[in-house]
Amino acid sequence: MTRTGNRIALLRIAVLAAAVGLLEVLCRTGVIDNFTMPPPSRIVRDLAAILASGTLMPAILKTLGNAATAFVLAVSVGVTAAVLIHAFRGLREALDPLFATYYAIPVLAFYPLLIILFGLGDVPQIVIAFMLGVVAVIVNTLNGLDRVPRVLLKTARIHRMTPLEIASRVTLPYAVPHVLTGVRLAIAYSLIGIVGSEFIMSKGGMGFEIAFAYMSFDNATMYPLILLILVVSITANLLLAAWERTLLARRGLR
């Protein structure tokens, strides 16, 4: 990294630290009262206590497990669907307007319908999270497939590869950086889908516990759980971003 790049990174950390410090001071001096928000240092300590005691572990595992299921489904179905859609022009033309307006549609509005269809359990939540994530994967994979240079396709044809081989050995590997953009979005969306639907109506999970803690003014549970969700999503995102960068760097693109 260059020297100015380092300076900017340092500045960024300084701004973040200043913001957290300011919050700490505001909370400790009572400008923000403790019913609204406990000091950040307190939240971290509470989180450690919650993780150590293990009472909320079932809820945490349930939410992260459901989010992981939805995420895996969204990525595998999304990539497969993108390859198929890419192969059929007519299908692509019909679906393009759907993709263009999809994220304007409040998918969580379908949650009540899904509860009626599947009952109040894990399934409607996973379906919502899947529906949110899958289109991001499809759109970004298609975007990557569109950019495969023609020479690669010609080479594949010279080697008499089958369509399956072409997808698995040429086009998809080429599109990986774009697919990863979709994958990163899918992480955020699967968490949004699960936690959002747990908020609205559910029988357990982190969203449920956060909502329950909110109703009973239990900030010592609510804030640490919120922090944990944010930490999980930011960490997963950073890891994938780093992987994406190494992939692009290997190709000399960045």
Partner: protein, 250 residues
């Protein structure tokens, strides 16, 4: 545009709508009367809601919350975007932070918003605005940064004043990108506002949905979902059209 070209342009959306209606009808045949209504029944029930005052109270509540949230999201998004776009250093420091905010699941923050703003209209507006301002700011930053220096130089050669430079060069050059941000901001603000109404509120279309689940009123659930989705799809298709026209012009 010739008739054939127009027909081709509408073929995709038309096929999509027919496909979705067929899928809906098939789902109804699978799931049955307990869980779903047919498209025809849903439209009929939606029309029967139109003369009811109670329905309009909810619509008004949601529309007010959404309108206010959108206004705040657009104003703050543009302000932050312009600031970070024109000021290089704060842009370099701030943009990755905005990207991080964009990618966190913001639903989790709703209880905090509720504690800060109290139950009711302000919390809904704040939550909608939090969802909407980030993409508007991000796209504005990029729009401003990508203005080609030659345009500004030409303005200087023509001795344009600062106001004329802004209105005749900077704004038209940045507009297409900014509009894309506004389009995405519109969608996210709507989602944020609705989420706010579904989780905790006493009025609005989101509340109407939640209340209907409690009463197992499939007619209301289907109609409100249908209305929201038609509204979102129609408005964002129009915005998408304008967006593409703006991009094509440059």
């Amino acid at each position: 545009m010739s008739g054939a070209a127009a027909a081709r342009r509408w073929r995709g959306p038309a096929a999509l709508i027919v496909g979705l209606l067929v899928l809906w009808q098939l789902l109804y045949l699978l799931a049955g009367e307990v869980a779903l209504r047919t498209p025809a029944q849903t439209v009929a029930y939606t029309l029967s809601l139109v003369p009811q005052d109670a329905f309009w109270t909810h619509v008004e509540e949601s529309a007010t919350a959404f309108g206010a949230a959108l206004a705040i999201a657009v104003a703050s998004g543009l302000a932050i975007g312009l600031l970070l776009g024109f000021h290089r250093l704060s842009g370099d420091v701030g943009e990755p932070m905005l990207v991080a905010v964009y990618s966190i699941p913001k639903v989790t923050l709703y209880p905090i918003v509720l504690l800060a703003f109290g139950l009711g209209m302000p919390a809904k507006i704040a939550f909608g605005a939090i969802h909407g301002f980030v993409p508007i700011a991000l796209f504005t930053i990029n729009a401003v940064r990508n203005i080609r220096p030659i345009l500004v130089k030409t303005g200087r050669v023509l001795r344009l004043g600062p106001i004329e430079t802004a209105t005749r060069i900077l704004l038209p050059a940045a507009l297409p990108e900014i509009f894309t941000g506004l389009r995405i901001g519109f969608a996210l603000t709507l989602i944020g506002t609705l989420l706010g109404e579904m989780f905790a509120s006493q009025r609005g279309l989101g509340y109407m949905l939640m209340n209907a689940i409690g009463l197992h009123n499939v007619d209301v659930i289907m109609s409100v979902t249908f209305l929201l989705i038609v509204f979102a799809a129609v408005v964002s298709s129009i915005l998408l059209r304008i967006d593409r026209a703006l991009h094509r012009r440059f």
